[in-house]
């Protein structure tokens, strides 16, 4: 066999030569990546599986809106929106390589509505370094809006968690001044952001918090933490948790602990359908308070509302989407803003122009948000949505209380 040696060597040299030549014809210059004469490619990572899989439908709803725009308006200025969704299982260790894939291999124009505080934090430096817009992340962690100065390619959309927590703090002080507060929060930036907002707004009354317990994203359930909170004689419980642990908690409080605290529930788990699942699992759902800024598809008062009608038309484009799921109208609403930005950009479809419009020139009345809620950014204010309204659970659905509370300017 030895005499075949030189042949192999020649083949090896040839391959090396091929290898050496192949690299020359790399990417040709393009005014901006991900835009062609008839398409705009957006990328997204979201939890289609794993502990936060309930959120997965958001991306499908967003895609439904893009399909609607492509079909009824021929896209944006003649360009159809293509939307590539990848499943990161709510695990930053997967978000990072998937985002690299979308940016470097699929060559997306921008990342849109990537979900998860931790997940989006883990790719923020990368996307900013690459100057790829990380637009309207599906997390309310305050940092995404607040730190626009240092991360100028990243912007949130929904009201910041700290602002929401401020509203709860005010509500507790007004309605339950002697409350013994217990907090269940997810042990990451998202949970801690809510906790910070609550503690900040309580100020010198922060000692009302008698116990706070955290759970890990990968934990099977938060039952041990709830038992500990119960043992500390908590009478007002804050749930800063994603849908799955929230449903587990609501059911366990009633069925496992026979406990009836006043409950404040973070908005990221409050769609009516999830409350319904909790009720069927045995949750009593007494004295539950949350906040809203989007129209609830299960609320009969929007039956003849134009925005709600449009939502129902749009969501018909998604065969797996439950029309009643509040996460779907969230997806459609944020996709509406994205299309709005693309329309405003007109023929100047560059990454820099997109981020400039999104961060400082938004002035939008979004038909899927509660009446009066504005999506608004200026050169000095990069928090797109800042108004929310308190809601309480009436046994079947949410009831809007009082009027819109504007937190704009409270977070610097």
């Amino acid at each position: 066999m030895g005499r075949k040696g030189p042949g192999f060597a020649a083949a090896a040299v040839f391959l090396l030569a091929v290898a050496a030549c192949g690299g020359g014809g790399g990417n040709t210059t393009q005014t901006d990546v991900g835009i062609t004469s008839n398409s705009i490619l957006l990328g997204n990572t979201i939890a289609l599986s794993g502990p936060a899989a309930a959120y997965g439908t958001i991306a499908n709803a967003e895609n439904a809106y893009f399909t609607y725009v492509n079909n009824t308006q021929g896209g944006v200025n003649g360009r159809k929106i293509k939307f590539k969704i990848l499943d990161d299982s709510y695990n930053p260790a997967q978000t990072v390589p998937l985002t690299h894939q979308l940016v470097e291999q699929d060559q997306v124009f921008a990342m849109f509505s990537g979900l998860g505080t931790q997940d989006q934090t883990s790719v923020r430096d990368y996307l900013n370094q690459k100057k790829v817009p990380q637009l309207f992340v599906a997390t309310g962690a305050t940092t995404f809006d607040k730190d626009f100065g240092t991360n100028g390619w990243t912007l949130g959309w929904q009201p910041p968690y700290q602002g929401e927590a401020h509203i709860y703090a005010k509500d507790v002080l007004a309605n339950h001044p002697n409350a013994k507060i217990g907090v269940l929060y997810q042990n990451d930036d998202y949970g801690q952001d809510y906790l910070k907002g609550l503690t900040d707004q309580l100020g010198d009354k922060a000692s009302m918090i008698v116990d706070k317990e955290s759970y890990d994203v990968t934990a099977a359930n938060p039952f041990a933490q709830l038992t500990a909170l119960h043992a500390h004689n908590v009478d007002t419980l804050f749930l800063f948790s994603t849908p799955k642990p929230t449903i587990q908690s609501l059911a366990f409080i009633t069925a496992g602990l026979h406990w009836e605290p006043t409950i404040y529930l973070n908005s990221v788990s409050n769609p009516q359908v999830y409350m319904g699942i909790a009720a069927r699992s045995g949750a009593a759902l007494k004295n539950v308070t949350s906040v809203a800024y989007i129209k609830d598809p299960t609320d009969p008062q929007w039956a003849n509302d134009d925005g709600m009608k449009l939502y129902k038309t749009v969501i018909a484009n998604c065969s797996t989407c439950n029309v009643l799921d509040g996460f779907n109208i969230y997806g459609v609403a944020v996709a509406y803003t994205m299309v709005d930005v693309l329309k405003q950009a007109g023929s100047d479809l560059t990454r820099a122009n997109i981020i400039k419009i999104a961060s400082s020139q938004l002035n939008e009345t979004n038909p899927f948000l509660l009446p009066g809620v504005k999506v608004n950014t200026t050169s000095s204010d990069h928090f797109p949505i800042m108004q929310e309204q308190v809601i309480t659970w009436n046994g079947k659905g949410w009831t809007l209380q009082g009027s819109l509370i504007d937190e704009r300017g409270t977070i610097k």
């Binding site: 066999m1 030895g2 005499r3 075949k4 040696g5 192999f8 060597a9 083949a11 090896a12 391959l15 090396l16 091929v18 290898a19 050496a20 192949g22 690299g23 020359g24 790399g26 289609l48 599986s49 499943d87 299982s89 695990n91 930053p92 260790a93 990072v96 390589p97 690299h100 894939q101 470097e104 291999q105 931790q118 934090t121 883990s122 430096d125 990368y126 042990n187 990451d188 930036d189 890990d216 994203v217 990968t218």
Partner: protein, 362 residues
Amino acid sequence: MNRLRTAPPRYWLVVLAVVLFLGLPTVTSSFVASEWGQALTLAIAIMGLNILVGYSGQLSLGHGAFMALGAYISAILVHRYHVDFLVTIPIAAVATGLVGFLFGVPALRLSPLYLALATFALAVVSPSLIKRPAELTGGVQGILIPQPDPPPFAGDAFNAVTGTAMTSDQWIYYVILFCTLLLFWLAWNLGRRRPGRAMRAIRDGEVAAAASGVNVAGFKTLAFGISAFYAGTAGSLFGLSIGFISPDTFPVSLSIQLLVGAVIGGLASIPGPLLGAIFAYFLPIESNQWVPSQTWIPDQITSTVKNAGPAVSYGVVLILVMMFAPNGIVGLVKAGYVALNRRLRGAADRETGQLPPDPQTV
């Protein structure tokens, strides 16, 4: 020259493989290079496992934990103390090797079944353990590792060959490739020298090995230490390549993935871990993308594969490999090569009119 001429064909295969891996980043995109870089880090870890399982006959279900240790040592040194990443690789490797050695002292006195359980326990607790000292490890938030720019000499050389600027992913790929070659060469040397023979003797018969004067406990512990050294290097490089590590980067399933890779590639061989790693790394990625795109597969199966991800494809492939290639890919190729050689040689002998050698006289 005579040595070159008489070199067996597998040496030329090694040269070919090295040339292919060296040339890869020049023909593919930077992203593909980083994927292959990560596959190579798995190859290093699997080689470590191969030394332990294949050569010395110990079972470990906890090598993911050693990878985590290596990765965190590097990441903490880079993040907190601003040490150059390249410097942290040997530090992480040696420290992890030391920990593996110490872990091996008590653990290897356990019988194989209990050793498997002890190492499995290590893999299960490590994500939770990492979360506790949150100031040091970043807790659940993990640590971002800035990717280093290529040094001028590498960038210039790459530019001279391809005409494009070298990205950090491509530079990291070459760093990983260098470590892989070095560690595979070390493993090859280890395998055919005294320690390797001692380990195999222990694997094949502990009592017999002890009777022949082999220090059984000593070599078992050594194998564990070396194995952890490899895993630590792999972890360190893995973190560098991804640019972010968190406790969930190193789940229990990673340890299983490594073992599956070692078995599929072929135990007690040098190319086995490389093939196993390519398999273990690309199988879940490809199956996740391939299965949903096939319309003939029923929707229910598609959604199961999508949700259970790698587990389903691993299961199927592992069963097939165990049925049809119990010695892994390398075993299959070897058996095929031997059979082919026999046929070709027989045919050649008939054509030249020479009689094949009489089997009884050989």
